[in-house]
């Protein structure tokens, strides 16, 4: 599998996915 960080699009998509994961963590595991 190609490393997503080798392309700009892959990098931005990775950042958006990480953002969604962090928001889900904050929503479900912290009382924020």
């Amino acid at each position: 599998m190609k490393n997503p960080l080798d392309s700009i699009t892959g990098t931005i998509v990775s950042g958006i996915i990480l953002t969604i994961i962090i928001l889900a963590l904050l929503e479900n595991f912290f009382n924020t």
């Binding site: 960080l5 990098t11 950042g15 928001l23 912290f30 924020t32």
Partner: protein, 171 residues
């Protein structure tokens, strides 16, 4: 100064927030410049042998501003957190969002000074390195830089919504 800072006692926090944002714009702006402009431009320049101008005159100056802006951003951010510093980094109740943002920014600062800068010195010839070492340095520096772009996306969301705006609203 009440027209700009919310009450006289908030002048210090207001100034730190201002420095934090200015230095952060310089840091992340240059991070995006490296990833979205310089790396693709150098790839094209390698094809016709015109990359020397960028690596000799542009990259060292951009890296100078980049790494010091990174440090200034972190220091101003730490000053802005002030007494909330440990609460943020320990992800205490109410500080989870700004805390995760602070950790992301801290990891990014580490990447700049421990991975990107030492490897860029080898790539740009500021430090002695064999061709093999330069090839490895290029890969490490690129991946560290791309990782910082990935981290910058949630980091900026949490920085702009985690604590600063709540603090401004006195919540």
């Amino acid at each position: 100064m009440d027209f700009i800072f919310a009450g006289g006692t908030d002048v210090y926090a207001g100034l730190m927030r201002f420095f934090h944002v200015i230095a952060g714009v310089a840091w992340i702006g240059l991070l995006y410049y490296f990833n979205f402009v310089q790396v693709p431009a150098l790839k094209n320049a390698a094809a016709d042998g015109t990359g020397a101008g960028i690596t000799k005159h542009v990259a060292p100056l951009a890296l100078l501003w980049f790494r010091w802006a990174a440090l200034a951003t972190w220091l101003a951010g730490a000053a802005l957190l002030g007494g909330n510093f440990s609460a943020a980094f320990l992800l205490e109740t109410g500080y989870e969002a700004i805390g995760i943002g602070s950790w992301l920014g801290t990891i990014m600062l580490f990447n700049v000074w421990a991975l990107i800068w030492p490897n860029q010195q080898k790539i740009l010839g500021m430090k002695k390195a064999t061709d093999d070492e330069k090839t490895k340095a290029r890969r490490v520096a690129l991946l560290a830089s791309r990782t910082n772009v990935v981290l910058s996306i949630p980091m900026l969301l949490l920085m702009t919504n985690g604590l600063s705006h709540k603090a401004l609203l006195h919540i």
